[in-house]
Symmetry: C2
Subunit: 281 residues, 2 copies
């Protein structure tokens, strides 16, 4: 019933006001749509279905207004209203996403290289993109284990404690990086999670030099990974590939051996992007 750590994982993140000293505030108003998206965010980020009153207190809108907004969302299939008057995410979202995923050019280019990497190492391979302050996982290739699909794909994870996230951040120019980190809320998931922008910055500088990143159980205890960055030539697109697995099986020595394969996969994906999307980008 309670809301989950909404702010920490929010893709958008700056709905209220970012305590950013810089004058350059990102574009904000999308009028009617923006307000509706806030509601969609609220409902999809909640731990379970929300009643009208719950949303009322969270959204702080007048009752009449909120009621009409929710009705519209329900009518469009973006939300669903069950028999007990509780609002849940709508199935139309699934349909949109399935199409968006199936046709995603970047993912299609990367796919064969992810499979190669999975087979070479036997461990789970992820593909992620930096979007705002979050990493969105675009694909995942696992070994033989009983399929639990969708598990990670589409999930927005924090950028400061994942391999792909840190690899992507290392591509940013120093200034943008500092700006971005200023807005990040550092939640400590494990003992190894970076707790401050300063300590993260230091590691990212290192990663930028080396060209690869580790996740030393920073997001989830017992889970490690190696990641390599991926970027478009115009740097509008930042992401990464990673190999992930349990710490008992993936020693740091083994991870170090996988640096080269991961980097090679990243390079091949970038080569594919140049060919498919044109050399300029």
């Amino acid at each position: 019933m309670e809301l989950s750590n909404y702010a920490a994982l929010s893709v958008k993140g700056d709905e209220t006001m970012n305590a950013d000293g810089d004058g350059m505030a990102q574009a904000r108003e999308t009028g009617t749509l923006g307000k509706l998206m806030v509601l969609l965010d609220l409902v999809t980020h909640a731990d379970g279905p929300l009643r009208f009153t719950d949303i009322l207190s969270l959204a702080g809108q007048p009752r009449g207004t909120l009621h009409r907004q929710l009705s519209h969302l329900v009518e469009e299939g973006l939300l669903e209203l069950d028999g007990d008057g509780r609002y849940a995410p709508g199935l139309r979202l699934l349909d949109f996403a399935a199409r968006s995923w199936a046709r995603n050019e970047f993912r299609l280019i990367a796919e064969p290289h992810l499979v190669d990497l999975q087979q070479a190492t036997g461990e789970t391979v992820h593909l992620g993109v930096l979007r705002g302050q979050s990493i969105i996982y675009l694909d995942k290739v696992e070994g033989r284990q009983p399929v639990r699909m969708y598990s990670q794909i589409g999930n927005a994870s924090p950028c400061y404690c994942t391999g792909v996230g840190k690899a992507a951040l290392s591509l940013l120019p120093a200034e943008s990086l500092v700006d971005l980190l200023a807005g990040v809320n550092f939640t400590r998931f494990t003992a190894a999670t970076h707790a401050t922008a300063a300590s993260l910055l230091a590691e990212i500088r290192e990663i930028a030099d080396q060209g690869y990143a580790f996740d030393r159980e920073e997001h989830e205890a017992g889970i490690r990974c190696v990641a390599a960055p991926i970027w478009s030539e115009d740097r509008t697109f930042l992401g990464g590939v990673s190999i992930t697995g349990p710490a008992y099986r993936l020693s740091m020595e083994l991870l170090a051996q996988w640096v080269v394969p991961v980097q090679r996969a990243a390079e091949r994906i970038m080569e594919g992007m140049r060919i498919r999307l044109g050399p300029r980008r």
Copy 2:
């Protein structure tokens, strides 16, 4: 570049006007949101990224208006505008969907029973819901094969040529069924696809009596399935479970043997719904 069979697969379907003699027209106007959703539909249903002009001709809006609408969608992350001025579905859709899927109550209830059914038969098991004239697949459990997740999940498939679809339709009262079929555009995917509402109606009457449905290579040549219906007590929620596989492996005799297991799985799922969601529904 061309549009795919947009109308046939559309979840919404009645944007213009349904040739429905009945006075009870379903609610329609969602104002600003509705117009934006039409655009989202256009872009997500296209075969590839669309340029501004493409959308302009498809949407039939004034240029200035369309431009602002697309800008808003892009700003919210629902669409993405690449360097070549082409619009593609945005990644935010993935994030929404991942959450919507992970927390879907019906899916969570059904999951263990799907796994059981998969292990009992060794073939692929699907869970689907009727939404408008389409079946939306909510889950899929496969055997050992190399994982290609997301493949089917979230996809909207026609109701008239899938096992789950026909099973779900068989739950509708005769009147609603006729109304619904009046709006369906019967595309012949294979030689076995029902071509008219009449022939479909005849089979659905049979299915309603029997309590299970076959798909005899009606959607895809070489693919068969058995399905059993699932419904909430108040009949607001209709769907089904199915076992799907290649015709060379799944003889009609074998499928007939699986009727009982599929029905049992469906019953257990419904029992779970009664317990979790309250007896009324």
